[in-house]
């Protein structure tokens, strides 16, 4: 029968601790997006380069990132690399794993966005004496980022949620990690996780809203 008594006070007393964890979560998500974005631009250039090795490398990255579980990607960054003598802390491994995943998805978004930009834009830029890199940097990239912006926002939300996988590699300072430890001490599973879920929800919604406002300011054309 249903005879569970809620103990919200205990959970609410732990709220400051959980909010500290939420900051760590947000930090990892933002950093992983920044790194992922830089890598995705590089991967996109690799795929455009026409170089077989660079293109193959980029395609392999995108394929693995998009078609294997994010959990495995984070595991690999922590335990997999550990086998080769590269020991990443749980924080770094989580960051690397999510950044890897972000880069794959963003690069694929960029590929789609590029298709929407007519070749004639590059031709016009080259006709003005720009190098192919300048044409990419000043003409293609800004348009590509605009088209890919909303999908990238989704990826950002996904990155926030993915940080919770950090508990599997011993991460204990982010929101999921903090919640997990509180739970282990108190067994108030429902209360703690419900509260954590609310915090995740609020962060995700806030990020989406912030992205909308940012887009409205940035993309005025």
């Amino acid at each position: 029968m249903f005879n569970y008594t809620f103990h919200w006070n205990q959970a609410l007393r732990a709220l400051p601790q959980m909010l500290d964890g939420a900051l760590v979560t947000l930090q990892i998500a933002l950093l992983s997006m920044a790194i992922g974005l830089a890598c995705a631009i590089a991967l996109t250039l690799f795929r455009l380069s026409g170089n077989r090795i660079l293109g193959g490398f980029a395609t392999a990255w995108v394929e693995i990132a998009r078609n294997t579980p994010a959990l495995f990607q984070i595991y690999m960054a922590h335990f997999g690399l550990g086998n080769f003598g590269i020991h990443l802390s749980p924080y770094t491994a989580l960051l690397v794993g999510i950044a890897f995943n972000n880069a794959g998805y963003l690069a694929e978004n960029f590929r789609g966005a590029l298709k929407a930009i007519p070749d004639t834009q590059t031709r016009a830029a080259r006709s003005l004496g720009m190098t192919s890199l300048q044409a990419f940097r000043y003409i293609v990239l800004p348009q590509m980022l605009r088209i890919a912006f909303l999908p990238a926002t989704n990826q950002m939300v996904w990155a926030i949620l993915m940080t919770s996988l950090g508990v599997t590699v011993g991460m204990n300072t982010d929101l999921a990690g903090v919640t997990q430890e509180l739970n282990a001490r108190s067994f108030r599973t429902f209360e703690f996780f419900a509260l954590a879920a609310v915090i995740y929800y609020v962060i995700a919604k806030a990020v989406t809203l912030a992205a909308r406002l940012f887009a409205a300011r940035m993309f005025r054309y």
């Binding site: 031709r123 016009a124 830029a125 003005l128 004496g129 005025r220 054309y221």
Partner: protein, 240 residues
């Protein structure tokens, strides 16, 4: 001077330019007319090195465009080109569209580039649209912006590829006026066009292209008044 010597160009099986010979001296206004698919656009894009050629030579002021060591980016500074589709950069304002290449390619300061851009945009009648995005412009205005953008690089030659073909009829006039203005200022121009009246009035010479061959070239009075090539006669009869 632009020297085109026996230029051949194929796309796969299709030979688009079948040995073109043509010299355009400084100051000349040459218009190119001809049916669809006759190779007019291809010739223009070969001149500025956007397309490769299979054989022959194109020499611009002594520089062989398709030679191995040629710095095409540098060469293109002196060859402005404007296309049928306006190719405005949608994410940049009108002013930024025009200043981008002078700043990034010629290395001018923002102030210098702005001054040149304002001058060129005023010249083509867009002095009051500097801060506007291209999506807010009419087709004719976008095309004049594209012309100003090319002129801001201070090119020695201008190549125009059917710059009025994508425009509504009532907007054609303003763009042609801009071309007339340029011609009267002594700009060396190659204009591919379907506007026969314009070709007649503005050109020093008119070239007729047919199936990859330059079938006839003559001053406008002669070419329109007494066409010799039978395909040209048929073409003119069809367009009048």
């Amino acid at each position: 001077m632009i020297e085109i010597e026996n230029v051949r160009k194929s796309f796969g099986q299709l030979e688009v330019l079948k040995g073109i010979n043509l010299t355009v001296p400084k100051g000349e206004v040459l218009t190119v007319i001809g049916g669809s698919g006759s190779g007019k656009s291809t010739l223009l894009t070969c001149i500025n090195g956007l397309e490769t050629i299979d054989s022959g030579r194109i020499v611009v002021d002594g520089t062989d465009v398709h030679a191995k060591g040629t710095d095409l980016n540098k060469l293109r500074r002196k060859l402005g080109i404007v296309f049928q589709q306006f190719n405005a950069f949608p994410h940049l304002t009108v002013l930024e569209n025009v200043t981008l290449a002078p700043r990034k390619v010629l290395g001018l300061s923002k102030a210098e580039a702005d001054a040149i851009a304002v001058k060129q945009l005023t010249h083509v009648g867009l002095g009051d649209k500097l801060k506007v995005y291209p999506s807010r412009l009419s087709g004719g205005q976008q095309q004049r912006m594209a012309i100003a953008r090319a002129l801001a690089m201070s090119p020695d030659y201008m190549l125009f590829d059917e710059v009025t073909s994508a425009l509504d009829p009532q907007l054609v006039g303003e763009v042609l006026d801009t071309l007339r203005l340029l011609a009267s200022e002594g700009m060396t121009m190659i204009c591919v066009t379907h506007e026969m009246k314009f070709a007649r009035e503005v050109s020093d010479r008119v070239a007729f292209f047919h199936k990859g061959v330059m079938a006839e070239i003559a001053p406008p009075d002669e070419l329109f008044g007494a066409p010799k090539d039978p395909d040209l006669r048929q073409f003119l009869a069809a367009t009048h």
